[in-house]
Every structure is written in C-alpha cells, then in structure tokens.
C-alpha cells in the first residue's frame, strides 16, 4: 500500500516538474513573443540588414574617333578597425609582406577611433590578395579615381574633377551632370559570417554617368600642341593659344592653351586652369581688319577696285598720328592694303563705313558676345558702347586696337567668312549622326546668323589668299594647298604707362585651308614672344603652316595647288 502511495507521489512530482518546466518555457515564450519581440526584432534587423551605397562610375570622355581621353577606374582605400583586431602582430606581419607598414606597436596607440587608413588607391587584385588572408579588423572602401591617359594633352578642355568626383573645370565641369550618373542605395542582408546575401542583381552600367564624345581629334590636338609648344619654348612666350575649327559645323578639332597642366597631378596654382582660348581677352591687331573690310564691302561703301592714298605712312587724326609699320606705295588697291596690312587704309575704309555700321558688323561677327561654346568660363570681350566712342575709337578699332576679343571669337569670325558668310556656334561636343541626320542639318542646327553675303565672303577669301601669296602671310604657305589668312602683330597696352608698349607684343595668325573652299580654320596666338623679331609673319605664321600642313595631310584634304 505504502509502496503504491510512493509511486503515485513520484508520478505527481514528475508531472509537476514537467508541468513547471513547460510553464516556465511558456512564460518565457510569452515574454519573448509578446513583450520583447519589438526589441529583439530591431536588434536582429540591425544585425542582418545592410544598406550599401552603389557609387556610380563617372562617364568617359572620348575624342571624335572614340579614343579614351578621361576615364574612372575603381580603386580602394584600406583601413583598420582597431576595435575588432584580434592579433595585431600577425596582422602587421601579413600586411608588411604585402608592402603595407603599420607604425603602431600595440592597439592602445590607435586611440578610440574605428577608422585608421593604411593604404590609398590600391587596385582590385591587391585588395583580393588581402581579403584572402581573412584578417579581422581590416576594412576596404572603394571609390573611383579619374585618370587621363593622354597626360597633358587636352588638359584645358578636359579640366579636372575634385575629391568628391565633381567637375571643377573644362568639360568635366560643363557636362558634370551628364557625366556624373546617380549613386543608388541597395538593401542587402548579411549572414552570421558576414557574407552579403543579395536578393537582386544590380546592373551598374545603368547607374553610370553617360560618356561624352568630343569633336576634338586627339591626333590634330597632338599636332597643334606639339608645334605650338616648340614656338612657345623657343620664344619664351608668356602664353600661346591655338585653335583648329571645322568652319562648316563650328566643331572644334583642337584647342591648345599654353602653359598647360597635367590633370592627373594635384594642381597648386588655380590660375593655370584658366583656358586662355576662351577666357583671356587680347587686342587682336591686324587680324581684325577682316571685319572692317567685310563690313565696307557688304555695305557697298568700297569696291575691290578702289585705291587708297596712304598719306606717306603717317595719318593725323584728332592730334594722334596713325602710322603704317611697313613702307608701302603712295596709293594701294584694297587687296594690296590688306596684303601689306595698312592701318591707314583701314582707317579710311572705316571712315567711309561710319561708326554705326562698324559697330553693327563687329557685333554681327560675334564680338562682344559669348559664342556659346560648351566650355565653362567664357568671356565676351571688351568693346566700348557706341555712345562712348571718341574721335579715335573708329580709326583704332578699324585695325584691331581699342577692342578686346577672345581667341574663340576671332576664329569663329574667320570661320564665318570660310563658311560663306554664316556664323555658326562653336562646340567641343560631337553631335551624333543618330541625333541629326545630315551635315546640312548640323549646320542649320548650329547656325547663328548670316553675317555677310556669299559674294562678299568669296571676295574676302580671295583677299586673304592674296595676303598669303603676296603679302605679310607668305610664311604661312604650305606645299600643295592654297592658304588664306591674315597676320596680326598687336602692341600690348601697358597699364602702368597707360600707353601701348614698345616691348610687349601679341603675334597672331588666323588662316584657312584650302583658301577658297576651306576645310579647316586655324588660329595661332603667341603672347609676348621674347625676340627682336616679334612679328606675326616670323613667329605665328610658321606655326600655322606646320599645323596646317600636318593636319591637311592627316585629314586627307584634297590638294588644290
């Protein structure tokens, strides 16, 4: 009986223990599921969910033939998180075998930080090698680094990007939005070992910035840069500029500004970033005479057969004497006046034309206006309001003094003549054929206005050809091609003495090849050549000839002479 009682007690006890056990489990379950579930869920979510910023690759910049001029490549920075380093000695040994030295001897020397960078801009292969070592406390952060494979070539056109990857100058700045792309945030999950589990595939090509194709041809750019640099160094010039343009479309084929810089190297002097071809104003001198002659011919104030008396080389106006540098005959034809670059003949033409007409044509040719080129920091030049013109304004402006122009304005004005009188908008971005079907449509697309008639443009081209064949531009001749162009040797204005300097000059030449049906227009400007022979015919025209010869050969332009 007692034995049976004991058995029953044991059964009850066992049942009670099991019941209590399950009751405690039940209570714990209630606690977890009802009262603590939010807290636990949040902790787990934090542990497994990861937000990852997918950085968009900046678009490439290509030349007209598709060669890469600027591109971004993925690089990594390696850092240490001292809080999760287990064995510093082992870690230091492995890192030093891979060429990374960590100075700190123990973990305390790192301080409280969780981020200690130890290597910058290393490539993927190197990172994989370190990753394979499975070191605890080593982290990697990726970023894109901008690279310019051509070095200094096109530095002013391409510009630079800042640390954050935004364009700060040149094409990098003007097309920053197109090139940038969009960074996106992806949500991933992480397993217990820290491996990322993705639920979808991210096609990064879709978030990348778009590529920009330029009208610049790197070979023509190289030719222009090489030839200009020779003269720039030979004459120890302050600055030098060269632009090569397709007159029909306005496309810039090459644009050089010296001194230049290497976009891949850290820039110390911001001033060097300035693209002189679009941002610097200069007094053009005799190259500007084409505007005066074009206007007078177009307005029928002069004829090709007109003869001008040159006042024995000295012409007095408003207590000032306008002089001709070269001794020319007493009377000259229009062609001869341009060939010998007579200032006096230009003054007489301008007087016939009148200041309103001259001002109107200056503006029609695009001076004192932005050309609209797709590069940042263009300036519009200097020109006094017509109401403020004094007695000397008309005569001096007629031969390119008392007016400030940019190189891009000057070449665009020559291109208007080359393009039978139509001024087009210059651009450095290549227009895809898929966007615009024909060359005629490209012209219409970029046409600004008709400046002079076809007939006047034809006469001007002939006059410019004569300048090279018989006048001051002889040194611009190239074998096999007819060349038209105009020299310009301008005295620089000295702000200290407030007079034109007899020491500092700007030598320039702007010309076109072939003369009557131009395929290319080239402008060369040499600022302050250090030589007694500072004339454009000696300094700028030979550079033009070398660039024109090599470019014409490269473009396979049909010979016409």
């Amino acid at each position: 009986m007692i034995k049976n009682m004991k058995q029953i007690d044991r059964k009850i006890l066992l049942t009670l223990v099991v019941f209590i056990f399950f009751f405690i489990l039940f209570i714990k379950l209630i606690l977890i599921q009802i009262f603590l579930h939010t807290k636990i869920n949040t902790t787990v979510e934090k542990m497994i969910n990861r937000e990852n910023v997918e950085i968009a690759k900046r678009g490439d910049i290509l030349d007209s033939k598709g060669n890469i001029l600027a591109s971004s490549i993925k690089k990594y920075n390696i850092f240490l998180d001292p809080k999760i380093i287990e064995d510093l000695c082992k870690l230091k040994n492995i890192l030093s075998k891979n060429g990374i030295n960590v100075k700190e001897k123990n973990l305390d020397e790192f301080g409280k930080t969780s981020y200690v960078p130890i290597a910058f801009n290393v490539d993927t292969k190197f990172v994989d090698k370190i990753k394979n070592e499975k070191l605890k406390g080593v982290g990697f952060e990726n970023k894109y680094i901008r690279q310019y494979p051509e070095g200094k070539l096109l530095a002013h056109i391409l510009g630079i990007t800042g640390y954050s990857g935004n364009g700060l100058a040149g094409i990098e700045k003007s097309y920053n939005e197109v090139l940038s792309g969009n960074n996106i945030v992806t949500k991933n999950r992480r397993d217990g070992r820290g491996h990322i589990i993705r639920d979808k595939f991210v096609d990064k090509t879709k978030i990348c910035g778009q590529n920009i194709k330029l009208s610049i041809d790197r070979t023509i750019q190289f030719i222009a840069e090489q030839e200009l640099r020779k003269t720039f160094e030979k004459y120890k010039a302050k600055k030098a500029i060269c632009i090569v343009q397709d007159p029909k479309t306005g496309n810039i084929l090459a644009m050089v500004s010296l001194p230049d810089f290497d976009s891949s190297v850290k820039i110390k002097d911001i001033e060097i970033l300035k693209n002189s071809a679009i941002s610097d104003i200069y007094e053009p001198g005799s190259t500007f005479k084409i505007v005066t002659v074009s206007a007078a011919l177009e307005e029928k104030k002069i004829k090709l057969s007109d003869v001008f008396y040159l006042e024995n080389g000295r012409y007095k106006i408003a207590n000032h004497t306008i002089k001709d540098n070269h001794k020319i005959e007493d009377c000259v034809s229009l062609s001869k006046a341009l060939e010998q670059s007579s200032n006096i003949a230009m003054v007489k033409i301008a007087q016939k034309l009148g200041k309103e007409n001259l001002y109107r044509y200056i503006r029609k040719f695009g001076f004192y206006s932005l050309t609209g080129i797709d590069l940042p920091d263009e300036t519009k030049g200097l020109l006094k309001d017509i109401k403020k013109w004094n007695a000397l304004s008309l005569p001096t402006i007629s031969f390119g003094q008392s007016i400030g122009v940019t190189a891009i304005q000057m070449i665009n004005a020559f291109s208007a003549i080359a393009n039978d009188g139509i001024l087009v908008k210059p651009s450095v971005k290549y227009i895809e054929k898929s966007d615009i079907k024909t060359v005629e449509n490209i012209c219409n697309h970029k046409e600004i206005r008709r400046v002079i008639s076809i007939e006047t443009a034809q006469i001007l081209k002939k006059l410019l050809k004569n300048v090279v064949d018989f006048g001051t531009g002889k040194s611009a001749k190239i074998p096999g091609y007819t060349v038209g162009g105009k020299t310009g040797t301008a005295q620089k204005f000295d702000p200290i003495t407030k007079t034109y300097s007899l020491k500092y000059y700007i030598a320039s030449f702007c010309g076109m090849v072939p003369a009557m049906n131009p395929k290319i227009v080239i402008l060369v400007i040499i600022d302050e050549p250090k030589s007694t022979n500072y004339y454009a015919s000696s300094v700028a025209s030979p550079v033009f000839a070398n660039i024109a010869k090599r470019t014409a050969q490269y473009l396979n332009i049909i010979k016409d002479d």
Partner: protein, 83 residues
C-alpha cells in the same frame, strides 16, 4: 480512414516544399552575390585594361618612342591612305 493520414502527408509535404524553396532562394541569393562581385570585378578590370591600352598608345609616348628609335616622318609620296 485514410483521410487523416492523407492530410498529414499534405501538411508535411507543404512544410517540406516551403523549407526547400526557402533554402533554394538563399542558395541563389548567395550565387547572385558571388556573381555580382565577379561581374563588378570583371567590369572594373575591363575599364582598367581599356585605360591601360590608351595610356600605352598615348601619342606623346608613341612620339617619344619613335624619336628614341630614330624613326622619321615618311616622305609624303610613300604614304598610302587606306580608306
């Protein structure tokens, strides 16, 4: 008589299918992760190589090499344009 047994089988099968698809989706997620990083690496390597080609073929470098090797511009008549 077989009804409860059939129901049990269906329930067990459903649980099995559920677990199987969960497992499979996780396996594929791992695969996607691996492929994504492989794709990213190949892409960035491709970009690096393209850049390397362009760096090697940079005109300034070519010109320097040509000068070192005493190469000169060919006579105009000996140039044949292929187009």
């Amino acid at each position: 008589m077989y009804k409860p047994f059939l129901l049990l089988i269906i329930i067990i099968l459903s649980i099995f299918i559920y677990l199987w698809q969960q497992n499979t989706s996780i396996r594929y997620a791992y695969k996607v992760s691996r492929l994504q990083s492989e794709y990213d690496n190949i892409n960035s390597e491709n970009d690096s190589l393209k850049l390397k080609i362009n760096s090697i073929l940079a005109l300034e470098k070519m010109d320097k090499i040509a000068k070192e090797k005493n190469l000169s511009t060919p006579d105009e008549n000996s140039i044949v344009y292929i187009d």
